[in-house]
Amino acid sequence: MKASPQTSDEELWRLARAGDEHAFTLLYRRRQGAIYRFAWQMSGSRSVAEDVTQESFMALLGEPERYEPARGPLAAYLYGIARRQVLRRLEKERAFVALAADEGDSAAACAATQPVAPHDPLADCTRRETVAAVRLAVLALPAHYREVVVLCELHELSYAEAAELLACAVGTVRSRLARGRALLSERLRALRHVEAEVEVKRCCA
């Protein structure tokens, strides 16, 4: 069987194990984005995200026999590796505050990035500030809430998928998500007031 974009992850991996570089490349390109985003959203550091992405696939390459298709999809397996790597780093370094350094302050972010809505630069700037504030709020969550919020909200995994990945009950995921979102809402409360004021000023103008 020849590797193609329609080939399943598991089949691509089987072909890659047999030495098919094209299959490995397809598999990597299909899954690297999610792993990279997950690591970045969990750590707030692009360099950590790069390392975790690379190490996750290296772990897959290095110990191919550890992945058993019968136990779940390859994507979940990769998430699991990435999660362990991220948590290990979080445990080691306790806090990553590189987000601001990576992204710059919100004003700089507004000025430097390409506007998505060229007709409304203020809205674009506000949106970027919101995104930056949400990232910081997510990073400020305790790790066990953060990973649930990242997986269920930012990666749009189902409760069941997240529960399998985190090796916990669906009810645990549900309760952690509720708690995580409540904490997130608290942290975003100030931002919400600012946005409301901006909206009022715009309306008045």
């Binding site: 030495g19 570089e21 690297q32 984005g33 985003r37 992405t53 995104v131 949400v134 909200e153 809402s185």
Partner: protein, 283 residues
Amino acid sequence: MNCEQVETLLTERARAGHAGAGADALDHLADCPRCAARLSEEQFASAALSAVVAEDAGMAAPAHVEAALLVAFRAQAERATQPGARTAARESAPPLPGWLWPRRAFAALAVAAALALLAVAALRFRLTPQQEPQTAATSAPSQPVAPQPRAASASPAQENKRREESATVKAPVHIARRAVAAGPRAVRRPATRAHEPAMELASVGEMVVVGRAPEAESVSEFVPLVGEGAPPLASGQLVRVELPRSALASLGLPLGPVGAGERIKADVLLGDDGLARAIRLVR
């Protein structure tokens, strides 16, 4: 429906929108400003998170990550095609026969038993050091263990703390092992690792030989650690152990009052079968 019940549903309702809300919940939200505010917050959080999802949608690892992985993939594929390559051999090799696992387990148990015997020996040993020439049959020339670097002026409190730590955790602080017959060919390990807790006793591989034995080193007699029924010693290794005297004293050994802060060296004769056969103290 009360506030508590609505609170448990807020996340779901915020994620799903009002479409998922029952009539009773909507009634409560219309009547309760606090719950309505909470729902509003949750909806704001959902919108903010959605903005992050949209922002991150195209995010990808840099190209050099893919390049590095492809290099690793090619290297691995190349190794796999080489006959006799370790990886290929491991992957193609049949699983270990069932009889080999018990032997491995036995070896691990033997090492653990040797460690246990060391502890027992420390308890049993009575220090009566005497000048004695080396016993040629069982020992190579004794060799000193590098001295532990210490602070030049440690306070008594610090010294006591250090002793306590040594007695509880780091009792066998230094172990230098050398093959009985290996002598000068034994591998010298970097000095930076010489102070590590000496769990190497249970491992195999490179161990420390520090310097050459001084001529005037005195040792006690070997005290046997195994009974008459033990298998004969075909070959073995002499393991140099360094213990703080305070640690031995804390175990009840009558070591005398002199030099309570010193470290005591001991040689343990360790058979290749993993059994500790005898122990002697070194001065």
